[in-house]
């Protein structure tokens, strides 16, 4: 039985960035009146010369970050994912991606983590929007351990990145000290009957579903696709070859996200029975994350049912 400890991705990100900023003077954080919601207060206090407050102006914040990067800075522009990826999408496209500036667009409270705040505060189209833009790397860490490890790598990663995290504490998927390589999927369980490919907070639920399937004698492989772009196509093709069924699950619209990225590979290179699980193309009802995951069938039980449906096809 897995332990069920929890950690905050936001806090793992900011405490790691805070420590890295001493070691790497080129690291800068830019925010949009969101130092509280990103948990950047300590960074702002300890590194005032590496911190830039732009006020509630996401477009400006992203362009300013690009300008700073053009002078040699490694800039982390941080704010609620819902605004940072949509309000300033053109700034991400032009000033970050097209200009290939060393800017990390870090969206917090993504997916459904704002829960009852409603549709303005959901972020369920960001993967689709940003992975289509050339030069962008797209990352969705699964837990605090992975967030910390990735943040460390970003201190030395040159180029445009989008990283999305949630708001609340999430279950730990990985033991402390686990290592990751950007662009390489992390296999959490091996299996021969199907593969569940998940990202972000869905990874923990995917493992729960696999455990439940195991009790039925169904062996599910679980891949944490925390790098959605560039996606680990080898891991996807290997999973399709070896397990014959692919189920994707994400805290994102079923259109254009992780499922879309996997389908783009398999439909062209190795057509494989697939199921894409995520959020429907409709107005999301209100509730907290776990209530919504259950309602939309993307918690452990929901993924378990989805896997059974896929295998019946």
């Amino acid at each position: 039985m897995k332990t069920e400890t929890k950690g905050s991705c936001r806090k793992a990100f900011t405490s790691t960035l805070n420590a890295l900023a001493y070691e790497y003077p080129d690291i800068n954080a830019v925010t949009t009146d969101a130092r509280g919601s990103v948990t950047l207060e300590q960074f702002a206090q300890e590194h005032p010369e590496q911190f830039v407050e732009m006020g509630i102006a996401e477009q400006d914040a992203v362009s300013v970050s690009a300008g700073m990067a053009l002078t040699g800075k490694n800039v982390f522009v941080c704010g609620p994912a819902c605004f940072l990826t949509t309000r300033s999408l053109e700034q991400v496209k032009v000033d970050v991606a097209y200009n290939k500036t060393n800017v990390k667009v870090v969206g917090v409270s993504g997916g459904l983590s704002y829960g009852p705040l409603g549709a303005t505060h959901t972020t369920v189209t960001d993967i689709a929007q940003i992975r289509c833009i050339f030069n962008m790397t797209v990352l969705l860490p699964a837990d605090a351990v992975q967030t910390e490890a990735i943040t460390r790598q970003l201190a030395q990663f040159h180029g445009p990145v989008y990283m999305r995290m949630g708001r609340g504490d999430v279950y730990d998927v990985y033991p402390k000290g686990e290592e990751f390589t950007i662009g390489k999927a992390k296999q959490l369980r091996d299996g021969s009957d199907l593969t569940i490919i998940a990202c972000g907070e869905m990874v923990w639920y995917a493992v729960r579903a696999a455990e439940k399937l195991e009790q039925d004698g169904i062996h599910a492989r679980v891949l944490d696709m925390f790098t959605i772009k560039p996606i680990d196509r080898e891991a996807v093709l290997k999973a399709a070859r070896e397990t014959g069924h692919i189920l994707t699950v994400e805290e994102h619209s079923v259109y254009g996200g992780l499922g879309g990225a996997v389908a783009e590979i398999l439909s062209q290179e190795l057509p494989t029975p697939m199921k894409i699980m995520g959020l429907p193309d409709e107005d999301i009802i209100l509730g907290n994350s776990s209530e919504l995951f259950t309602y939309y069938g993307i918690d452990g039980d929901g993924i378990y049912k989805g896997a059974q449906e896929l295998l019946k096809k």
Binding site: G55, Q59, D60, V64, T71
Partner: protein, 275 residues
């Protein structure tokens, strides 16, 4: 500014105008009106104000130039070629298949600090450069040229708030106030006035000049006020230098016919002779 320096700059500007006309006539595309209105300011920057050798060397202490009105690119390319950032012969590839000389500047071209083309990006990018350069105690100054129609973009005003907040006295924003945008007079499309007061109220040091007169351009570009960014409202004539294009909105991006080209070239060459 002595008379000789001004004559030198006028001659350079006249040569750049000839290039603008040639590029657009040959490629049958481009934004001639705004290139002609803003070329005097660009000429002043590259032939008098900025240390171009430092820019060429990629010196961290170099001044930065951002062409926020990226569509006024032809004159910019002419300057970069003349200054040796790339071979002059390459100008003939402007807007052609597989060229790097696109109709908006891209940072693939030596000398172009940042790719532009979508309006309302240049000022905030310049603010970011100025914040970082100031914090690094660089002597560099950042110059950004915007269009007047571009002032309609909200992101311009987000950055206009940030410039004075960060006391960016190493930043000069020039508005090429040629009074015309693609649909007509700016005041009929979306009223910009009182533009100088708007910048002033945001906390900028504001200088209003005739942007086609080097005697006024140079001192304006060299103006520094401690703790404040400077906005230069550069009153210009759209299509400046070619009589039938002047103050005509249609010449925002019209391409001259052969007959018009001949007449325009005669006028520009005449100007060169006077100098």
């Amino acid at each position: 500014m002595n008379h000789e320096s001004i004559r030198f700059l006028e001659e350079q500007a006249a040569r750049r105008r000839i290039d603008i006309l040639n590029l657009i006539y040959k490629a049958k595309t481009g934004h001639i009106g705004g290139s002609l209105s803003s070329i005097d300011v660009l000429t002043a920057l590259y032939y008098h104000v900025m240390d171009v050798d430092k820019i060429k060397a990629g010196d961290p202490e170099r001044d930065r130039f951002v062409l926020s009105k990226g569509h006024s690119v032809e004159g910019f390319y002419s300057i970069l070629a003349d200054k040796g950032f790339f071979p002059k012969e390459e100008l003939s590839t402007y807007a052609q298949f597989h060229t790097r000389l696109a109709c908006h500047p891209t940072s693939k071209i030596p000398g172009v600090e940042v790719s532009t083309g979508s309006l309302g990006h240049g000022l905030p990018v310049a603010v970011g450069m100025a914040i970082a350069l100031k914090r690094d105690n660089r002597k560099s100054h950042v110059y950004v040229v915007m269009g007047d129609g571009e002032q309609g973009e909200g992101s311009v005003w987000e950055a206009a708030m940030a410039g004075p907040a960060y006391k960016l006295d190493n930043l000069t924003a020039i508005v090429d106030r040629n009074h015309l945008q693609i649909s007509g007079n700016t005041e009929n499309v979306m009223c910009l006035e009182p533009l100088a007061d708007r910048y002033r109220s945001f906390g900028w040091n504001v200088v209003c000049i005739n942007g086609n007169d080097f005697g006024e351009i140079i001192p304006a570009l060299l103006t520094r006020v401690p703790g404040k960014p400077t906005a230069v409202i550069s009153d210009t004539v759209k299509g400046k230098g070619i009589s039938f294009m002047e103050n005509q909105a249609a010449w925002h991006h019209k391409v001259p016919t052969e007959e018009q080209y001949q007449q325009a070239m005669e006028e520009l060459e005449q100007k060169l002779k006077i100098n």
